[in-house]
């Protein structure tokens, strides 16, 4: 609770510092609240979770952003023939952005590591079509997904037919409970073709502590124009393991648009594989080669609420297993105070 109080005090301090340069620049609180259940091997756990985001502009050039995670995990405990629970409160990132020029933003603080794109774009519970992330999600992140240091990022080129964006970062080593990070450097380069709605990119990270290992990543996203079909994929390779995932989701516009009851149905599918290159484990990938297929059916309710359901089948030398997941997520977005 002390950490929660500190986080709340910090948020209030940030909000009080923020002086909008324009009426449109009121600090906002966004995020998602969800209730999830997952059943691996017949054991069901329940996970209520809230992920608030604070964005507070300061002047015309600065922005403070932060995201926290508060959850309570209720899981079966055979020793007591019932359920036990554990709370988890963490600051997922806290960063200061300086909009230095038309094409450069300087980021300082604790930020989501820009390796591949799932971590930055899909890890939010109100965005991710599945309840959990892909197996390769944290291959290069020391399992935290967060870096502590500085980052340069922006749009290098933006033309009608293509755009090129970049991110380069350096992270210091930190064992602080809230800002845990490893010493590393890396970056990402992405090319986007607006007419094709196709984005391809490559990422690189080098760990600068312990055994200095290189990690490589690649991603391809495609959303055909005028459809609600999306294909997303990522590949990551470390020194001891590699893997990929391909995911698709689709909503029909043919029966009254996306807001009709049919259009709100969202079938999703994801396939992923990981391969261990040797038995030395310096990453968080499974210890044996693993293949996993996720079938899901989401329903997008009005007022930014979504029901998620999925079934996963995991194939592994360590044993095959099933995973059932259900959940409901509400996404909120509001100003911190009423303006004129």
């Amino acid at each position: 609770m002390a950490r929660l109080a500190k986080a709340a005090a910090l948020a209030l301090a940030v909000i009080s510092l923020a002086k909008p340069a324009h009426a449109q620049d009121t600090p906002l609180i966004s995020g998602g609240a969800g209730f999830f259940s997952n059943t691996p091997g017949g054991q069901t756990s329940y996970l209520p979770e809230i992920q608030p985001v604070l964005a507070a502009p300061i002047g015309k050039k600065f922005l403070i952003e932060s995201r926290a995670l508060l959850s309570e995990d209720f899981f079966p405990n055979p020793s007591v023939h019932g359920y036990d629970h554990a709370e988890f409160i963490a600051l997922q990132y806290l960063q200061l952005d300086y909009l230095a020029s038309r094409h450069l933003t300087v980021v300082a603080g604790s930020f989501l590591t820009p390796f591949n794109v799932f971590n930055e774009r899909l890890s939010q519970i109100w965005v991710n079509p599945f309840q959990d992330g892909p197996l390769i999600e944290s291959i290069a992140d020391f399992s935290s997904g967060t870096s502590l240091g500085a980052q340069l990022r922006g749009s290098a080129l933006s033309r009608r037919k293509y755009s090129l964006d970049y991110a380069a970062y350096f992270s210091a080593r930190s064992s602080n409970q809230q800002f845990n990070a490893g010493r590393a450097a890396g970056g990402r380069l992405s090319l986007y073709l607006p007419e094709k709605r196709l984005e391809v990119g490559a990422s690189y990270t080098r760990q600068l502590q312990g055994v200095h290992e290189n990690f490589y990543g690649a991603h391809a996203w495609w959303e055909p124009k005028d459809t609600a079909f999306r294909l997303r994929s990522e590949y990551a390779r470390g020194h001891h393991a590699q893997g990929y995932w391909v995911g698709v989701d689709y909503r029909s516009q043919a029966f009254g648009g996306l807001d009709s009851w049919v259009g709100r149905i969202e079938p999703i599918f994801r396939f992923q594989q990981t391969f261990r290159r040797d038995n030395a484990a310096s990453d968080t990938l499974p210890a044996t080669n693993t293949q996993r297929a996720d079938f899901g059916l989401n329903y997008n309710l009005p007022h930014n609420t979504r029901i998620l359901t999925s079934y996963s089948r995991v194939f592994s030398a360590a044993g095959n297993s099933n995973l059932w997941e259900t959940g409901i997520v509400y996404r909120f977005l509001f100003p911190t105070w009423k303006g004129k």
Binding site: A23, Y166, L333
Partner: protein, 107 residues
């Protein structure tokens, strides 16, 4: 059946379902109008739908923002600038593109 064959079959079935859905979608949708006449995307906020873009703000919105998520149903004018500043960093929009989307969201 060995697990790798089974998973390959599952993968193929999934791909087949997706391809079928995409084909149905392609048949159901008429060819899109020219960019200057493009209607705002169906998942844009209500306020945005009413506006007429003078500088392709709707197109930039559809091309960039929808890559990650669908827009909330409404965006308060008081926070439109903050949302855009946040998305400029997150989605790596250029200043020009961010300004166009801001005018589109909050004309």
């Amino acid at each position: 059946m060995k697990p790798n064959y089974l998973s390959g079959g599952v993968f193929l079935v999934g791909l087949l379902l997706v391809a079928t859905a995409a084909a149905m979608q392609a048949q159901a949708r008429p060819s899109p109008p020219a960019p200057s006449q493009t209607a705002p995307p169906p998942n844009t906020p209500a306020k945005a739908s009413a506006s007429h873009d003078a500088d392709n703000g709707d197109l930039i919105f559809a091309q960039n923002c929808s890559r990650c998520h669908r827009a909330p149903e409404s965006v308060s004018p008081r926070i439109a600038g903050t949302v855009l500043r946040h998305m400029r960093v997150r989605a790596q929009l250029s200043q020009t593109d961010a300004e166009a989307v801001l005018r589109f969201l909050n004309p």
